[in-house]
Symmetry: C2
Subunit: 601 residues, 2 copies
């Protein structure tokens, strides 16, 4: 069974097949940890910390080097730590010699929180022989006074609340979601928590929220552990087509990760995971189906029909989430087989509302969804852009973090100049660096309009298998040789082609000229780092004035947070969902032509 090691805050991951030390794992992905003793376990510089997962038993020599307080803090020496299962590793600045990164948060419109979940403090008369009402009757007689007579009691609540009533002497905080009672807490201040989750094919974004004021208390990004079953949706779906039993495993993996993220965020705030009273989860349709245990086989075969496109609000415990007993998970509706509730959340956060305003919305991810709003219509498409823009499938791809090449210029002789985040040694190249490099390679003639490297140019080199590549940075003392291969370029051009074809088809379908577009909203981590000029230059975006392009970061996560803390936003999203027309690209007339044109410069 393969497993994943993820290095934070760099966002680089390695899929491993056999046990290895963390030092070796880091080397394999080009991360150079301080290691003055050369990995002999004597210098103590390669300190790392497990965020999740664990390594082999710590031995006495390592204990002596780290000292008691560091051991208590969860530190290990990377060179002495053998790992054989999935783990997320934090690399402290000292071990890397660099300052930490920041990550752009999804931006979203201002709105008033109006959470589904609310707290009602009550005090009941204790029972006696002259007042033999049952616990539930006693409770409902009292809550009726607060206008809460329509709130139902499920078995799970009835099983629990009577004990709390007696324990806290008939005074309690009652938690409800306006439909049913969820749980009781002792009297006193209680501020319920909420959990918003955006499940992407590659990344899982979790946000811990204060339900009452809508503030984000903590956020965690993790690799979607389902990645061991395939990097993109289609490969995971085909695993399930071959053996439907794997669906349960995919479900378990993602739920386990969400529990872990929620647990660790709660711990960091000294809160209990059972104080999470409401959850909102968005994701592409396959992730949505995997999470909910819905049959996903129909998503794998034409015409790609989802099980449902209604919103669902199942009990969290039924799915294995360890939040407040009886709490529910709000799952907004998916739109189509390949346009999920994450797209809906993106459009909600980006203010799409089906008005006259002509807007293009692009959420770039392993799957890219694009929506065009025009004349009170919203039409959405989905393209399999692949994970290239997230740095995956790119030899030296990484997130925009210290050590990433973020800008590249190439002179007329084909000689590169690279700008590295943190001005330290380079360990990889991030999305904006890749776009720069490709645009520059094309500009100086090293890349032709069909996207092939010029094999006759002296700046183009060849690997031992004879495959051409371009060298961005030569190998140095503490850095690998960083290159861009023909395969890397192909990945990016295929992704760009898919996205551009989607945009062009939408314009064609709604008969809009690109000049009429008033705003382009780009979401997704890549979109935040992308330079709009470059995006237009390589043809990812059509020729449009740069001021019209706005990056909004993880807008799907922002939309999930909005729906978590506001029932009004849930209603708005449902109305929006009803308004979205799905257009199937693959059967659109001349789709192959649009795609071929999209790939070219």
């Amino acid at each position: 069974m393969s497993f994943i090691i993820e290095f934070e805050p760099l966002g680089i991951h390695l899929i491993c097949e056999a046990p290895l030390t963390l030092l070796d794992a880091a080397r394999q992905v080009g991360i150079h940890l301080r290691s003055e003793c050369g990995g002999k376990g004597t210098c103590g510089k390669c300190r790392v910390r497990f965020i999740s997962g664990k390594g082999n038993q710590i031995k006495s020599d390592e204990k002596i080097l780290l000292g008691e307080s560091q051991i208590k803090g969860g530190y290990r020496l990377a060179c002495r730590t053998l790992v054989n299962r999935t783990a997320q590793i934090y690399l402290p600045p000292d071990s890397l010699l660099e300052k930490q990164i920041f990550q752009i948060e999804g931006k979203y419109a201002e709105f008033q929180p109006r959470p589904a979940v609310q707290v009602q403090a009550v005090e009941l008369t204790p029972p006696s022989f002259s007042d033999l009402r049952s616990d539930l009757k006693r409770l409902s007689d009292t809550t009726r006074q607060f206008g809460l007579h329509e709130i139902q009691s499920g078995l799970g609540f009835i099983q629990h609340f009577g004990e709390q009533l007696r324990r806290s002497k008939w005074r309690v905080n009652l938690i409800h979601n306006q439909r049913e009672w969820l749980y009781t807490f002792p009297p006193g201040d209680f501020h319920p928590l909420g959990l918003a989750v955006d499940v992407g094919s590659t990344k899982l974004a979790c946000y811990l929220m204060n339900l009452e004021d809508g503030t984000t208390l903590a956020a965690r990004g993790e690799i979607n552990p389902q990645i061991v079953y395939g990097e993109d949706i289609m490969s995971r779906l085909s695993v399930i087509l071959k053996n439907p039993d794997h669906a349960k495993e995919l479900q378990k993996l993602v739920i386990h990760s969400i529990n872990e993220a929620a647990q660790s965020m709660c711990q960091s705030l000294h809160r209990n995971i059972q104080e999470i009273a409401d959850v909102c989860l968005v994701g592409n349709t396959a992730m949505h189906h995997f999470f909910l245990g819905l049959p996903s086989q129909p998503l794998a075969v034409s015409p790609f029909i989802p099980a449902t496109n209604s919103s669902l609000y199942p009990r969290a415990a039924d799915l294995g989430l360890q939040v407040m007993p009886n709490a529910r998970v709000y799952c907004p509706p998916p739109i189509a087989g390949f346009v999920g509730s994450d797209h809906l959340a993106f459009l909600l956060a980006a203010g799409f509302d089906g008005n006259q305003h002509k807007r293009l919305g692009i959420d770039i991810g392993t799957n890219t969804e694009i929506a065009l709003q025009h004349n009170q219509r919203i039409v959405s498409v989905s393209t399999a852009s692949g994970p290239a823009f997230e740095g995956a499938h790119i030899r030296y791809g990484m997130r925009a973090a210290p050590g990433a090449i973020e800008h590249v210029s190439i002179d007329e002789n084909g000689k590169p100049t690279c700008q590295v985040i943190g001005q330290s040694t380079a360990i990889g190249i991030c999305g904006s660096g890749i776009l720069d490099a490709i645009a520059e390679l094309h500009r100086v003639g090293l890349l032709n309009s069909r996207g092939r490297l010029d094999k006759n140019h002296p700046a183009i080199k060849f690997d031992p298998e004879g495959k051409p590549f371009y060298e961005l940075m030569p190998a140095g003392d503490s850095q690998p040789r960083i290159t861009l291969t023909q395969h890397d370029i192909d990945q990016v051009l295929l992704a760009k082609g898919a996205i551009r074809a989607g945009i062009e088809i939408l314009l064609d379908y709604l008969k809009i000229n690109v000049k009429q577009i008033e705003e382009v909203i780009v979401a997704g981590a890549f979109g935040s780092y992308m330079n709009p000029e470059q995006a237009i230059q390589i043809g990812l975006l059509p020729d449009i004035s740069i001021e019209k392009v706005h990056a909004v970061g993880n807008a799907a996560g922002a939309g999930a947070r909005m729906m978590l803390v506001s029932t009004e936003m849930r209603h708005r999203a449902l109305a929006l969902a009803d308004n979205i027309e799905y257009l199937e690209l693959t059967i659109y007339p001349d789709f192959p032509l649009f795609f071929a044109r999209g790939i070219q410069f």
Copy 2:
């Protein structure tokens, strides 16, 4: 851990602490199986069959004696079968030398079945690129045509129905309970099953019903396996008071038994347990709370408050019942801490409706509930009568089955004449025999008005510990000496006293003279076998004309079946529940006096 061996159809059980052979177990409770070889395993006459549970591995000598076909039929030789866990054993007529018994079924009023669960056959248009509706939308668009637009879809249904749709080429039978979709079956004839359960402290009655026409397809009575935690409610409650963890165990035991009973009834009809689409369960309040996992500690302490007195309809799977996925269990409301939904079911089946008609209803069991209807009021009380009338706690007590003494007369010299069911050798005494014996002992002066045996009378003998008893039948070649001890008599008189006190207090409370009572309805197994004349003679019932007394057998089970197959009956029961006033006997003025008077003749 103790375990129970129950012998059917005699209804005699033995609580065992250590492994023993079935032959020894039978002997201990006075059942003499044919055993010509004296238990050496050579005659092959003591054949028995396991209904549930199992014994030690069968060995070759036993195999030879039984032959292949009997082994396949599940037969064993009692003398060769060692048992160390709970089992229910069927004693074939040949092994007992007697014909089988019959059991009176609960009688109930005629009514039209109107089940909550219904079947709708549908055919859907398959999806295509020109019709990309999700599975659920496709379904609801079709079912709307049948007026079923208000039926909800829970996660469990959405997880399953799409696969069945595709497997049976978009034609299916949909099962719903008028509130939500439960499940889908392939097209064709489908007649859903229902399960009605009456959980008594001692016995569990399960009925498999045809939901559509309301007929009973099979019935099973079993010992309530919770009996290992105490024979009556209070002892089980005190076990939980000491250690709340035992509540889970009590819940598991009863659910396991219900599953086993349902499974075996379904098997006998070549049906699948998953075809059970609705369940209705009644029981006394403690049994109701144990089954539902509700906290029962408050039932153990004054003022004995139940968690709820609303009807509940939780998902069967949440409780561990193996019926149709997503099916629910209808649990009618308990009335008070010691007046359960079984009492409500009894009153429903017995036609109590709060009209002018003056009626007394008595459901005799380990706990006896009594209701008096008068002038549009129904007042109910509960008395802890103990299991004496069910034969438990009586040295030779047994159900009215072959081998039971059913009539006793005693001459002026104190010499008994006994009539045995099946005119075979006696193995015990059933309720009517006990009442006869006590009435006769009193009549001839062997028992004084305070219920003490006359120690100076020559017909009264003494056991080795010096305790007095009366011999009904001397020991014979193939029968034990059958006696009635002072302890047996005490048990019966305490039970009689508790019931009579309840009746008298109700008459006092509603200010009715006993002569005004128009009908007395007696339910419970004991009530069916009881001779009303004797009951009046010993003072269990007040002095009332015999024609007014009607036995209705297991009326609680009958009421459960009515509510299972008719939503109208559920509504009628809820209205009835609202109308029932609970009267707490223990705080009634002069209760001890009523009780003391009730015990006397």
